[in-house]
Symmetry: C2
Subunit: 186 residues, 2 copies
Amino acid sequence: MSTAKKLVAAASSLLDSGGENAVTLRAVAQAVGVSYNAPYKHFESRKSLLAAVIAEDFLMLSDAFRNLRESTAAPIDKLRCALKVFADFGQEKPARYRLMANHDGHGDSVEEAAFSTFVEFAAIVEECRVAADLPDVSGTNLAGLIFATLHGLISLDANARLKPEKGLTSIGESMDLLLGLLRPSK
Amino acid sequence: MSTAKKLVAAASSLLDSGGENAVTLRAVAQAVGVSYNAPYKHFESRKSLLAAVIAEDFLMLSDAFRNLRESTAAPIDKLRCALKVFADFGQEKPARYRLMANHDGHGDSVEEAAFSTFVEFAAIVEECRVAADLPDVSGTNLAGLIFATLHGLISLDANARLKPEKGLTSIGESMDLLLGLLRPSK
DNA sequence: ACCTGAACACCGTTCAAGT
DNA sequence: ACCTGAACACCGTTCAAGT
């Protein structure tokens, strides 16, 4: 395993265990066993090391969505499953999720990875539309709306703002409400 | 104007002009004209100064929503207007919005201010439901869902992720799509 | 009560060397 | 090529004084 990959893995791990503030280049370097500025030999800056973490996670989600899409499940089940994969990631790795959500300015490779994740998601939504599980509006518009809602819910959840008084009990329940309301009546 | 209030105003201003990283206690103090650790005489820490900024903004939005609710406009217009107020705030003051979105752990006064903002918003949504502009599901659940969607869109927009290829052209357009799809067919 | 300035323990980053 | 350690310019925070 190359030093660069070890640094990315260490940064991810620190992100999960202590949040973004715990990811200092000194801590990352120490976790890998190199001197405190060895990271600069592999990444331009702390930001670009974090960019590598973000891109890796987007590609992982992208792969998960593609596998789902290529499975034989019913379209609506693929969608539900994709929503769950995304929501689970957000809940289990909140610090990484937050970085991904605020990835602006982290470079083109992150941008591309984020886009490919969305493309896979949108393809599943399109399958649902074709199967008449969702209303007949332009696929990407609908995918964008569902994606934004899911992202909003995950973000609220990550801040402990999903409370019954706020009309939000869980991500899954709220997404079910949305999909139920969107389902064409015909 | 008390020093404490001046510090909050300076922090807000720095937040708008340079983002969260620009809000160092040294910069805030200098903007107010006091020594670099005078803020500690008014706030426990940098975090609690930021908490004051967050709470102030939530209360401002809460007031705006209450004024809207007490106006004589049609329920659906009140809702559209509330959505616009919130979206405009998110677009014009992205750094402040991001802090509000990630307000977890900033203390009870922030929590309360955030909750009162939601309560006002939910009241407007409830008016729409009563007027049959929205489907007949429990008011706060619906309010929570609409709020999460709006928040998701603002968050995506703040990260330059509202692109036509992603099915998201603008916050307003996407919210119109949602409200249109939610409108009961009856 | 309110403020000041030195001091401390961190950071990210740069630079000149080392193998 | 890859790594190291001193050094710099910042931070948040604490503390002992000052008015």
